[in-house]
Structures are given as structure tokens and as C-alpha cells.
């Protein structure tokens, strides 16, 4: 019991990390569910990395990193929309171009400064163990905004995931709600980078929601599973990092990916067992 609780009860930084982590898990579960359902994993990945030059420039000139991340994300989405609308290229080509361009730009900016190597690690992997109350409050506000957007847009988001044409004919503009969905994913990425870093926020977006999709028959249930898996990953990831002195962000994401594979294997075993039961019932 001591092993499970004391790290959080006797270290305020661990408690802050857990609170921030739970908020990140809720935000990522909601946004990640739609990333999975709408097949937006690539744009989620691109956003998570594409914000790097924005953050780097912001830190270089002394602005908050979150502001730079927001500008980076806006540039990314704007660029993807422009290329997709003004050319015959598909959106994944546009996403790939912007993704690699922005990431390279970020690395170039970072490499110009000697004092930046520590910052780069911080940007990529977050600093969940150094999270303060203001950052937790920003994360809380963002999680509330994401939750409210998901509730308000539940019907159009569902229709959009089912069939964008059906959404349009039902009177819900598919372009408007697609953009709201992208905005929701962008907020998640921008705010969560402080906690788990830009590289790892992507893992939190897709692994818990992916495991949830394997478990659930309904979208709401999928989202709840994703939240549970996310929170478990945060808790056990922090615990492992504390006891074994490992990088916290990476430990959390390793746990979440491990949970995905456990669910995946269990689901496969279960469906295999169901098939063999049906076969033996047939033989009788």
C-alpha cells in the first residue's frame, strides 16, 4: 500500500503531476475518441510535432510556450487546408509536408541556441514532475472547454464520424464541425504538451481511445474506457518513474501502449474462445 500511495501523499510535486495527468487523460480521451473515429491520427501526430517551431520561437523571445504552440498549430491547420483546397493533393500529403517542414524548422531553431538542449527535451517529453498550480489551472480550463465542445457537438460529431454526407444533409455543416473537431484536437495538443510533451501527447491521444474502441459497443462507453485507461496510465506511469527513477513522460506512455496491447490480446483471446464455443455447440 505504501508503495502505491506514499509517493503521492508525501511529495506535492507527485500529487500535482497526478492531478495534471488526470486532466490530460480526460482531455485526450475525448479528443482521441474522435481522432480514432474520424481517422485523424495522422493530423493529430502532425499537430503534436508541428507545434515545435512555435514553442521554440516563443521560448527564444521570452513568450509563454503555450502561445507559440497555439500559433504553430494555427499555421499547421491553415497550411493543410490551403494545400488541400488549392491542389489535387490528398490531405495526408499536405499533412506530411507540413509535419516534416515544421518539425525540421523547430529543430533548426533549437540547434541555433546552445542553451536549448534542455528545453528541447522538455518540449518533446514534457515536465510533468515540475508542473505548478497555474499550469494545472490552464489544463483544467482546457479540459472543461474540450468537454463542453464534445457535449454541444455530440450529434454532428457522431454524424460526421458515421458519414460526412449524412451530416451535411441533416443540416450540420460538415466543414464547420470538422474544423471544430480539429480545434478541439489542437487545444488538447497545445495544452497537454507542458505535461507529457509534444512527442508523447500523441500517444495519450490514440492509445487509450484505441483500446476503448476495442472494448466498447457505444461511443460514450468508448470515451469512458479511454478515460479510465488514460488515468491508469498516468498513475502507474508516475509510480514506475518514481520508484525506478525513470523519465516520467515516457513511463506514462509506455504504460498506455502496454494497456492497449493487453486489451488487444484479451479481445483476440475472447473472440477465439467465443468461436470455439460456438463450434463445440454446433457439434453437440
Amino acid at each position: 500500500m505504501d508503495w502505491l500511495v506514499t509517493p503521492f501523499s508525501s511529495n506535492p510535486f507527485m500529487l500535482h503531476a497526478l492531478i495534471a495527468g488526470v486532466l490530460v487523460s480526460i482531455a485526450c480521451a475525448i479528443a482521441g475518441t474522435f481522432v480514432i473515429l474520424r481517422g485523424l491520427a495522422f493530423i493529430g501526430d502532425a499537430l503534436a510535432h508541428g507545434v515545435l517551431p512555435g514553442i521554440a520561437v516563443a521560448i527564444l523571445v521570452g513568450f509563454p510556450g503555450i502561445l507559440g504552440a497555439a500559433i504553430g498549430a494555427a499555421g499547421m491547420i491553415g497550411g493543410i487546408t490551403l494545400i488541400t483546397q488549392r491542389s489535387r493533393l490528398s490531405s495526408d500529403t499536405a499533412i506530411g509536408l507540413l509535419f516534416i517542414g515544421m518539425l525540421s524548422l523547430g529543430v533548426i531553431i533549437v540547434s541555433r541556441s546552445d542553451s536549448f538542449s534542455g528545453d528541447l527535451t522538455r518540449i518533446l517529453f514534457g515536465e510533468i514532475l515540475g508542473i505548478g498550480i497555474p499550469a494545472i489551472l490552464i489544463q483544467l480550463a482546457a479540459t472543461i472547454v474540450i468537454g463542453v465542445l464534445a457535449i454541444i457537438c455530440a450529434r454532428p460529431f457522431l454524424l460526421l464520424s458515421f458519414d460526412p454526407e449524412q451530416a451535411e444533409v441533416a443540416g450540420f455543416s460538415s466543414r464547420l464541425y470538422h474544423n471544430i473537431m480539429l480545434f478541439m484536437i489542437a487545444i488538447t495538443v497545445i495544452v497537454s504538451f507542458q505535461t507529457v510533451g509534444t512527442l508523447l501527447v500523441f500517444g495519450m491521444l490514440i492509445a487509450p481511445a484505441g483500446a476503448g474502441a476495442l472494448m466498447a459497443r457505444r461511443i460514450e462507453v468508448m470515451m469512458l474506457w479511454a478515460m479510465l485507461f488514460g488515468v491508469l496510465s498516468m498513475y502507474f506511469g508516475l509510480l514506475i518513474s518514481y520508484h525506478f527513477n525513470l523519465a516520467a513522460g515516457a513511463s506514462i506512455v509506455i504504460v498506455t501502449v502496454a494497456i492497449f496491447f493487453i486489451v488487444f490480446i484479451m479481445q483476440n483471446l475472447r473472440s477465439r474462445r467465443a468461436v470455439s464455443q460456438q463450434e463445440s455447440a454446433h457439434e453437440l
Partner: protein, 289 residues
């Protein structure tokens, strides 16, 4: 089969079905309409009207313009030239009154959705973002599922259903909409004999209630028999009129380039690029009557 014949026969009986009034405003009206995509006209210069309680069947090969016309009527594609109005307004202005069944549901296999969730989506247009669904909506959803014979599959995940069961689910969604105008793209695709009968019965019921229907189909018998009008399409309007006027050997040959007549087994092939003048050269003869 008897049941199907009864449905068709009863639809033809005068006085029973909804009687469209000649002076009511048309639900759908197209004047010299050209449809297609931004850089490609698919069908040019088409004109037709559809009034309350009427149905029109669009018949043609793949790529003949059926789906393009349906998408133009629901407002997914803008008209290239000419005019089209739905309920006297621009297409897409009246989502509550119009239900659309497209051909493809790209994500249908990935989504964690039960059949009943898909049918419930049919209630969204009349409820918008906010209005809560009530007991009445549950009743409507249930009766739509019963009409398509899938009430026992309500809790089943969509991805576990067969193609035909999924099509029944999508049709139930259209029925649950309780729209005034149904736009159906190959609605009977993948249905088994039982599903087909339920579907024809449902269409007949809708028409009796005064609902109008535009359907794209490959069927030249049962579905057109329920319709007042048939339009044959081959990237142009080959013929437009009552089923009896339109579904002739020559018109079908021109539309499909091939005609198979029931027991007679006369198969005529006409290459798409050849006109009627080439028939003799290709050795095509009319079937023995």
C-alpha cells in the same frame, strides 16, 4: 413473391394511394438543370417535376448520373447550370423535411455503434443540437426498426451485421426521419428477398402518407411499378415518363446497351460509343414478341 405483387397491384389501384393534387407546389422542380462536378458536366439540360405523394425512379448504368442528380437535389453538389428547387427553396435549405440514403458509409465498420444508434440518428435533423429525445422518438425508432424487421438486432454492433442487415438499418434510419421527401440511392442494394419485401411495403406506406420519393435503382420491375415516373439516364435523359411509356425495349437498350427480357432470353449488346445506326452492323435484332 405474392406479397410483392399485391403491394405493387395495390399501389396501382386507384383511389387508395395518396392522390397528388395537380395545383400543389412541386416538392422538387428542375428546369434546364445541368449537373456534375466543377470541371465535368455529367447530365445537361434536364427538366422534371415531382409533387407530393409522387415517386420517380432513376434508372441507368453506373456513372450515368443517378447519384449525381440525387446529390444535387439534397444540396451536396451545386447545380452547374439551370435551376433546381426543393420545397420551392434552394437544395439543402430544409434538412428536417428531407431524408437521404447514400450509397457508402465509409466509417460504418469502424465505429462502435449499435444498430439502434444508427436508426436514432434519423431523429437528429428534427432535434438539432439541443432538443432532447423523448419517449415519442423511441417509439418512432422502434417502429422504423420493426418496419425493416431488425428490432431484434437493436443492440447488435453495426460492424457485426451482414451487408443486407446494415442496409436494412440505414433504411430504418431514413424511415425514422419521418421526412416529406426521401432521396434514396440504390436502396434495395444487398437486401435479401425478405428485406426486399419489407422495403417495398415501407415505400408503399410512405407514398400513401403523401411522402415523395426519388430513388436511383437498377431494378426495372418492382421499384418502378411503385413510381409515377421513370427517368432513364445515360449521361443524358434518354426517356422520362410513366413506367409504361418509358420502360420499352429500345429505351432500355439505349440506356444500358444490353437488354435481357425475362423468359425470352434475348441478350442485346450495344457498345456505349455506338448509336442506334450501328445496330444493324452489330447484328442486333429486336426480340420476338
Amino acid at each position: 413473391m405474392n406479397c410483392k405483387k399485391e403491394i405493387i397491384a395495390s399501389a396501382k389501384r386507384e383511389g387508395e394511394a395518396f392522390a397528388p393534387s395537380a395545383d400543389s407546389a412541386p416538392y422538387v422542380q428542375a428546369k434546364r438543370l445541368s449537373i456534375g462536378y466543377s470541371n465535368e458536366v455529367v447530365v445537361a439540360d434536364m427538366s422534371f417535376e415531382l409533387r407530393q405523394g409522387e415517386a420517380i425512379a432513376l434508372i441507368g448504368t453506373n456513372g450515368s448520373g443517378k447519384s449525381t442528380l440525387l446529390k444535387t437535389i439534397v444540396g451536396l453538389l451545386p447545380p452547374l447550370r439551370g435551376e433546381v428547387s426543393v420545397f420551392g427553396m434552394h437544395p439543402g435549405s430544409n434538412p428536417r423535411r428531407i431524408a437521404y440514403l447514400g450509397q457508402f458509409h465509409a466509417s460504418g465498420f469502424v465505429l462502435p455503434l449499435r444498430a439502434v444508434d444508427v436508426v436514432r440518428m434519423g431523429r437528429f435533423p428534427s432535434h438539432g443540437l439541443w432538443r432532447r429525445m423523448g419517449h415519442e422518438d423511441d417509439e418512432i425508432v422502434l417502429s422504423a426498426m420493426r418496419a425493416m424487421g431488425i428490432e431484434k438486432l437493436a443492440e447488435s454492433p453495426l460492424r457485426s451485421l451482414s451487408g443486407g442487415q446494415q442496409q436494412r438499418t440505414y433504411l430504418a434510419q431514413v424511415l425514422a426521419h419521418q421526412a416529406d421527401l426521401l432521396i434514396l440511392d440504390e436502396p434495395a442494394a444487398g437486401l435479401d428477398a425478405g428485406g426486399r419485401e419489407l422495403y417495398l411495403q415501407a415505400i408503399d406506406n410512405e407514398l400513401r402518407r403523401g411522402v415523395s420519393i426519388v430513388m436511383a435503382t437498377h431494378d426495372i420491375q418492382e421499384e418502378p411499378a411503385l413510381c409515377n415516373q421513370v427517368m432513364l439516364l445515360a449521361r443524358r435523359v434518354v426517356a422520362l415518363g410513366t413506367p409504361q411509356q418509358v420502360l420499352t425495349h429500345d429505351a432500355l437498350l439505349e440506356t444500358f446497351g444490353i437488354v435481357v427480357f425475362g423468359d425470352q432470353r434475348h441478350v442485346h449488346v450495344l457498345e456505349a460509343t455506338h448509336g442506334h445506326d450501328d445496330k444493324e452492323r452489330l447484328g442486333i435484332n429486336k426480340p420476338r414478341s
